[in-house]
Symmetry: C2
Subunit: 203 residues, 2 copies
Amino acid sequence: MNIVRHQPRPSAKRESVLDAAQACFLELGYAATSMDLVAARAGVSKATIYAHFASKEDLFAAVIHRRCGGLWAAECWPLECGARATLIAAGTRMVDLMTAPDTLAMYRVVVAEAARQPDLARVFWEAGPGQGKARLTAVFEELVQRGELIAPDPWAAADQFAGMLRAEIFHRTLLGLPNPEGRSAESTIVAAVETMLKAYGRN
Amino acid sequence: MNIVRHQPRPSAKRESVLDAAQACFLELGYAATSMDLVAARAGVSKATIYAHFASKEDLFAAVIHRRCGGLWAAECWPLECGARATLIAAGTRMVDLMTAPDTLAMYRVVVAEAARQPDLARVFWEAGPGQGKARLTAVFEELVQRGELIAPDPWAAADQFAGMLRAEIFHRTLLGLPNPEGRSAESTIVAAVETMLKAYGRN
DNA sequence: GTCTATATTTCGATAGAC
DNA sequence: GTCTATCGAAATATAGAC
């Protein structure tokens, strides 16, 4: 329950434990992951885990923190020539990140545990979706400044764009369901860009 | 694991068990809910539960089925005078349903268990979000037929509208986080409607 | 720090009486 | 169908040697 990190100084066994725990939590969820399994997969004893982490909850928090730290930080967001190309590129990047298996797994496990560990939900949001939203907002601000879009509220425009990208296909993927007949992520991106251009384009 | 409902004929104790189980599952999640707790809250013995449901998984499936069955079926979707009023009304209805505490709790628990019980995810989608999407698509089809909107693909338009309604505020609520500064669901709805009108309006 | 071995609890599921 | 009582497995966490 204690959120304060002890000593994040790296240790070989400690990293093994974190790697194994991350794999288990993302694959099985929080509750279905046992400390025995983590110990086995990390190749250490259970007592070693408890030497580094006070409890299962503490281990989970450490995994989320490590995985979220700089999750999308190193991403470079391309500013192509023209609003359409820029939005296509940014939208594709966004969808790729959102639908990456690890991202979806993280989303599932955090959503499931959010009610019981609210701090983790905040950390996850600020490191993950929040970062994406911030970068997207920056893209819109740049396009407005360039005069390629007219949007008095770039945050709201980015919010709408992100929402359209994250519509039915994303939610079905999150639930493990197949895409609706004849619909693809690519067509969703293109349609979203066209709608944004009609709503916020210069003419 | 068996999906076939035995005899859904109502029984007082059976309903008590379902009520208690629903409350526990939505509040605590699947894994954190114990059969002992359900029995205690329902005022029956654990053996009684197993007389009606083969396993914990079976009980969970029964809860999801019952809660989803006709969840949004009785909803009447208003077709106001004019596209703007119609979309505002439909969007408000949609957001109210999506952000109802029970809906969010259901969403959380189904997302968490989707990987291990894929059938439930499908049932949930078809009874919940899928219904909403279908009704929204019908609204767009009607507006197109009336000539108030020009949308060659009403499904895609409804998808975009639903996505914009379900943007940052919804996801933050799902994670138990507060709304971003100075943003409200109402302003999100209004902005989404304006964007749709600009993109698909007649002029 | 790291291990083996174990304490203790809790949970899902069942036996058997009524 | 419903109860009391309990089994056996699995989980978290710890003790104690090295």
